[in-house]
Symmetry: C2
Subunit: 203 residues, 2 copies
C-alpha cells in the first residue's frame, strides 16, 4: 500500500507555509520526501468537499496572541504569539449528517502504536464526542509499512483506560484486527470516508 | 430579554487575552460594558460540555505563521504572523449525534440584520453543511434590543441568494418570524440548545 504522489495538480492546493508543528518533528524523513500525512488528509478533505461528499476541515493551530502591530496602509501583523495546546482533536466536520471527529497520528514504530501520542485532554474529548454519538476515530499511519488504519475512538479510549493492559502502546496486530485499513491513491489520497462506510456498515 | 452578568464564578473560565478580532470592532460599547457576545457563547459551550449536553467549540483564529523564534530554555515565540480569512463558520461540534455548525453575528441596527456581515465563502460553507444534512444556523444578536435569535441556515442562504429581494439586509420582523428566540440567563448564558430543540421539534 504505497503512497504515490503523481504530479497532477488538479487538487493541489496553494502551498501555505508549513506550520511550525512540522518543524518540531524530530524525524523529517517524511517531509523530506515531499510528503506529509496531515497535508495529504487536507488534500483529501478538499477533494471530498469539491465532490460534495463531506465537509471536513482541519482546525487552525491555536495561538495566544499577545502583541499586534498595525502598520499604516498595511495588514495587521501579529508580533508576539505563543502556541497553545489544542483542547480538541485536529479534524472535524459532517458526512451524511454524521458528526465526524478525528486525529491523525504517525509512528515510525514497526510493531506497535505508542499511546504517548495522546494527551489526556484529547482522550477526554474523544469520550465526550462518543457520548454525544459522534463518529470518533484516529487515523494511524505506520510510516515504515506505509499503512494507514482508521481506528475507532472506542477502541483507543478503552485501551488507553484499561488497567489490565497498562501498556504504553497498542500492538500493530491489535490495530489491524480492530481498525479498518485506509486505501491511498490519487484522488483522494487518503480515502478514509470509504473506511468509515465499511466500519458503519459492518466489516 | 436583558443579558445579566452575575458575579458567580463557577463557569467563568480563565480569561484569555482578547483576540485582535475584538479590537477590530469599531463599536466597543459592548466590550466596554465587560460583555462580549462570542465570549458568552464560549462560556455557554463550556457549560454544555461540563453537563455532558453537547461538545461544541469555537475554532481558533486562523493565522499564517511567517516567523518563529526559539529562545533557549523558553517556549517558541511567533514573531510574525498574519490574520487569514476563515473558510468556515466559527463554531461547530456535536449535539445528540447531530453535526452543529454556526456563526455568531451582532448588529447595532434596530430594524434589520445587514447581510454584509457575511462573506461569500461563509455562505458557501453553510450550503455545503446543509447538503450534508448538518444543522446550520446563525445566532444573531440585536444589541440595541438585547435580543438573540437562532436563524436557520436555509433561511439565511435563501435570503442571501434571492434575486427578487436584492436587499442588503433582512428585516428584523422576518428574523422574528423565521428564527427562534434564544433565552439568556445565568447558566447557560445563551441557551441556544433549547432553541435548536424547539426548531427541530417544530415551533
Amino acid at each position: 500500500m504505497a503512497i504515490r504522489y503523481p504530479n497532477g495538480k488538479k487538487f493541489e492546493k496553494k502551498r501555505i507555509p508549513k506550520t511550525v508543528k512540522n518543524d518540531y518533528k524530530k524525524d523529517n524523513s517524511f517531509s523530506n520526501r515531499g510528503m506529509n500525512f496531515e497535508d495529504d488528509i487536507q488534500t483529501s478533505n478538499e477533494f471530498y468537499r469539491s465532490q460534495g461528499l463531506a465537509v471536513i476541515h482541519k482546525k487552525p493551530t491555536p495561538l495566544q496572541i499577545v502583541n499586534v502591530h498595525y502598520p499604516k496602509r498595511s495588514a495587521a501583523v501579529v508580533t508576539e504569539a505563543y502556541f497553545q495546546k489544542p483542547s480538541t482533536t485536529d479534524f472535524n466536520g459532517v458526512y451524511k449528517g454524521m458528526y465526524i471527529d478525528f486525529e491523525a497520528k504517525e509512528t515510525k514504530n514497526k510493531t506497535s502504536f505508542p499511546l504517548k501520542n495522546f494527551h489526556a485532554h484529547q482522550i477526554e474529548h474523544m469520550k465526550a464526542v462518543l457520548e454525544q454519538a459522534g463518529i470518533s476515530f484516529v487515523l494511524v499511519h505506520f510510516r515504515v509499512h506505509e499503512e494507514i488504519y482508521l481506528v475507532p475512538g472506542t477502541f483507543i479510549v478503552s485501551w488507553y483506560e484499561s488497567k489490565e493492559n497498562h501498556r504504553k502502546s497498542i500492538p500493530k496486530i491489535e490495530i489491524e484486527e480492530n481498525g479498518f485499513p485506509v486505501k491511498t491513491g490519487y484522488h483522494p489520497r487518503i480515502d478514509y470516508l470509504a473506511s468509515i462506510d465499511k466500519w458503519i456498515n459492518g466489516k
